[in-house]
Amino acid sequence: MKFEEILEKLEKVTEELDNDNIPLERAMKLYEEGVKLSKLADEILSKAETRVRQLSESEN
């Protein structure tokens, strides 16, 4: 999943979670999902180190 997709999903999760009317069980589920998403995002951010490569003539 791409970072912006994760962020979009996380936004939805948080928005629903913010609704006091949802049952606790649902809130727990959402939170679990949110934590999973944020782990994915952290993974993307942590492995990220800028690398530069040249596209060689043959690949060209």
Partner: protein
């Protein structure tokens, strides 16, 4: 160190420039760019490495034979450098002008722009959005150019990216073709492509005005950022590309800043999520505590109930036995009763709740209330009231 005011600094600069003979009554050669006709004539002249702001006051313009009104025109301008402290600007105050070249290329540029505009290559609805968090960034530029180093310097300080550089000739014969090839080789393989080079004369930037490159940019399925020249330069690829920025550095900054904004947003979002859940759990815990209290009370009550049955049984069985044994059991019931009261009152004390009674019976639900009088047991005493309405 004694601080001086901004005005004082401006005055020092103004005086320095005013007293510098090399800046008074000089002739400057360059190419007209960024021309804007207002009450006075404002424009710049440039060469490969620098731009100089120019002004022709309308009072002077009316006395001049020719005016450098057309972008791309090669001119020699006569004037003096003056300063404009309000805008932190220095400029050439022009009083005469010699036109050296009529700017054929500029004419060609305008024709090309007109043609491709009519064909719809600049259409806004055809523009693609630049991904906000790209993983792969393609760059088509000269490997040896300063533009590449400028971009990489910015990228290296940002969040992690995979950058693919395709070397291309950015000026001279066949340059447009090599840039177009570079675009094609990256098309579909990266999330966004930057094409660009540093500033220069209209001849040097010409590759970015050629039809072949314009069509390649238009056909490219991956979003393209055109980053050519410095601030004032304008080329056809700027109009065709999905996004135009004024310098190669600005292209890298645009990508990095968007990513950083997103990362910041992500941080705020996760923080909000954790906070909401914590609040939610806290309130659940409170509700649970109330239930727990209720449960404990019921347990005491049921133990009391058992004791009552036991008592009855014992009473039946031990009719012949001494009364003081019965009294002992009664006493234990009384103790249990007190214990129950203490637990309950402790509960009331903790939560500020009240126990409500109707006709001597404890009522726990609105549905079991009937209209009329009721009694309430609170921590510090009793109340009496009347049930007027019941909503369930």
């Amino acid at each position: 160190m004694q601080p001086v005011s901004v005005s004082e600094v401006a005055k020092i600069i103004k005086d320095t420039i005013k007293n510098q003979p090399e800046l008074i009554d000089i002739a400057v050669r360059g190419e007209v760019t960024n021309y804007a006709a207002r009450a006075h004539h404002y424009f710049s002249i440039k060469d490969e490495k620098a731009t100089l702001k120019c002004v022709i006051w309308s009072s002077r313009a009316s006395k001049m034979d020719v005016l450098p009104l057309e972008n791309g025109t090669k001119v020699v301008l006569m004037g003096s450098i003056t300063t404009y402290p309000m805008g932190s600007i220095y400029q050439l105050d022009v009083y005469d002008c010699i036109i050296e070249g009529k700017g054929d290329l500029y004419k060609k540029f305008l024709e090309m722009k007109e043609m491709l505009l009519k064909e719809g290559l600049f259409a806004v609805e055809r523009k693609q959005t630049i991904p906000v968090f790209p993983e792969w960034v393609g760059i088509v530029t000269s490997e040896k150019g300063a533009a590449l180093q400028d971009m990489l310097r910015v990228f290296m300080e940002g969040p992690g990216l995979e950058i693919v550089v395709v070397d291309a000739r950015v000026q001279g014969e066949g340059a447009a073709a090599t840039i177009a090839q570079g675009l094609n080789s990256l098309n579909g393989k990266v999330d966004v492509i930057i094409i660009g080079r540093g500033g220069g004369s209209i001849e040097e930037l010409w590759a970015f005005n050629e039809e072949e490159l314009a069509r390649a940019v238009f056909a490219c399925e991956t979003p393209v950022i055109s980053a050519v020249g410095h601030e004032v330069d304008e080329v056809i690829s700027d109009f065709v590309a999905d996004v135009k920025v004024s310098t190669p550095t600005a292209a890298a900054e645009l990508i990095i800043q968007t990513m950083e904004k997103l990362i910041e947003g992500y941080g705020l979002l996760t923080e909000a999520m954790h906070n909401i859940m914590e609040e939610r759990l806290n309130s659940a815990r409170q509700t649970l505590d109330l239930y727990d209290m209720d449960l404990r009370r019921r347990m005491v009550e049921s133990r009391l109930g058992m004791s009552k049955t036991e008592l009855r049984r014992i009473e039946e069985r031990l009719t012949f036995h001494t009364l003081n044994r019965v009294a002992l059991i009664r006493e234990s019931i009384a103790t249990l009763n007190t214990a129950l009261r203490t637990t309950w009152i402790a509960g009331i004390e903790e939560s500020g709740l009240a126990a409500l009674y109707q006709d001597g019976k404890r009522i726990r639900e609105a549905a079991t209330f009937s209209k009329g009088g009721f009694e309430g047991q609170l921590r510090d005493g009793k109340i009496k009231g009347e049930v007027k309405e019941i909503e369930v």
